[in-house]
Symmetry: C2
Subunit: 321 residues, 2 copies
């Protein structure tokens, strides 16, 4: 892939990100599962970001963004709004750099998630449970503290940081035919495009998305960014729309987006946990549901596919079955 | 450790077992968990036998036993009675050797477990849910088929097979101060003694056992084998008493056995799953409960301990919380 003139993020940025986060992030293992291969009809390589720091790939991007702040910026701390894995990831990255992290979380976020953010040293600010309230309180904090707002996906350091998972995959397995990741805001999928196509231009890149939050599939089909309105899915990591930065990279590099029902996702999640003995969260299970779909079986020429297993932060008191 | 004259199982047998099972068994990874280390006050190395074939260390011993049958013995097939992981392990080992496995399972064993045994090609025979009925039906099958009875722990090839997990651990980490395993029939703990003490005579070996099935702790204290009567614990893999073969090895090599309540085991299981993102079954969680106990904290001189995480076959519909 050439450097996108629109986004100006290149494979070199991913190499740089890998170097930056190497002292902090895990080089996660790649697992395989014979019964999954049998059902999928091809070899599936599972990049275990559920075993990443904070239990999710999000740590890669957050860490790269935080470590790339200038001394002056860092001294002012970081700010974000998130109810999910980005909140924990940013809190931990900030802690590792020894700076402050102000995290806006909605009033309906679970006590467990708030405790996790606090556990990593983040300062939690509760707001009303809507997008507007979150953005307003984050803006207010930026205004007050001078902290740097770190968007969970629409940030070039976040995108190149997320690309390091695919970089590791391809340096371990250079004969992959394809790679698939879940898609929400598109940080991971766009980073994966840059890394995978940069290292191996003929590799095929796919996304997996819940039918109840299918803006990426609809955008890719229409050729223009169609934001998500009223998402409805159990996949709480995939509710957001693609960003201005991530969309053109996805548009230019992704072959197709598989949409999967929550029912199929839950079935895939259960199967995956039983067979691999690893926890995954619903958002992560979308790629397994995609690989087990009829649509996937109709693709030709895929003998080896890697799936990025994005996170393992599942609520053990509320398994969805 | 010298070869026990009583049992005649040596480190050489474990080396041989490692060679025998190498084409079939996984060399399982060793995980670490910072929050566990912090709570334990030492470094804990988790040998992930939950990621072993059939989801449990039992495959090591069963595979070694099956592969060591003579051609003539093998032609008659194998027989066992088990409601748990040994049943699946023996069925898979037999399948890999291309021979028949008759598995006696009690009428109260779950449909999931029976299906798993059948999935590995085992022939399931249902009997009444008591020890006598199990033994009688197994004996009947041996009589009828000429099959070889493979005891889940009191078999020298099973013991040396289970020892291969500790062999791998010490070849990866030669500076361990101690190693701990759960103890039921004692196959894993005795195999661990032979491997660990054989490679590193000053290593300390511990067991972990439910308070509701504490025959190993009581036997070690009394200096004589005291069989378990009326076990009462959630740890369904640790109900049996030590065997005639495993007891003297444990007596001569184990420093002490930690007894842990089911309450502490469930707490440890939940903590482990949340933090490591891996599934474990209650029996496996006993070692985590032991490491987190006050009794463990009182031990001096342990900076690095390995814990064998014995299995991950937990029922996702009936998590114990």
């Amino acid at each position: 892939m050439k450097c996108s003139t629109e986004t100006n993020i290149c494979i070199e940025d991913v190499f740089q990100a890998a170097k930056t986060i190497e002292p902090y992030a895990h080089r996660t293992p790649v697992a395989t599962c014979k019964s999954l291969d049998d059902l999928a009809g091809c070899e599936v390589f599972l990049k275990c970001e559920n075993l990443q720091k904070v239990g999710a790939f999000k740590f890669r991007g957050a860490c790269n963004a935080v470590m790339n702040l200038s001394e002056e910026q860092a001294s002012r701390g970081v700010v974000t709004h998130s109810s999910g894995n980005h909140a924990q990831a940013l809190a931990l990255a900030a802690k590792l750099r020894g700076i402050k992290a102000d995290i806006v979380m909605p009033s309906n976020s679970s006590e467990v998630k708030r405790a996790a953010v606090k556990g990593y040293g983040g300062i939690v600010h509760i707001c009303q449970a809507n997008e507007k309230a979150r953005e307003e309180l984050a803006a207010e904090l930026v205004e007050k503290t001078g902290g740097v707002l770190i968007n969970p996906f629409d940030n070039p350091f976040v995108v190149s940081g997320q690309g390091t998972a695919a970089l590791e995959l391809l340096s371990d397995f250079n004969d992959l035919d394809a790679i698939i990741t879940p898609v929400g805001g598109g940080g991971l999928l766009s980073g994966t495009c840059i890394a995978a196509k940069g290292l191996k231009p003929d590799i095929r890149v796919f996304g997996a998305e819940p039918t109840g939050a299918d803006d990426a599939a609809r955008s890719l089909e229409a050729g223009e960014l169609i934001p998500q309105t009223g998402p409805n899915t159990i996949c709480d990591g995939l509710l957001t729309s693609l960003g201005k930065l991530t969309w053109p990279i996805i548009r230019d590099n992704v072959e197709s987006i598989f949409t999967v029902t929550d029912e199929k996702t839950i079935e895939a999640m259960r199967f995956f946990m039983q067979r691999t003995k690893m926890l995954i969260e619903p958002s992560a299970a979308t790629v397994i549901a995609a690989i087990l779909s009829d649509q996937f079986k109709q693709l030709k020429g895929i003998k080896k596919i890697a799936a990025i297993i994005t996170g393992g932060n599942v609520d053990l008191d509320n398994l969805p079955w």
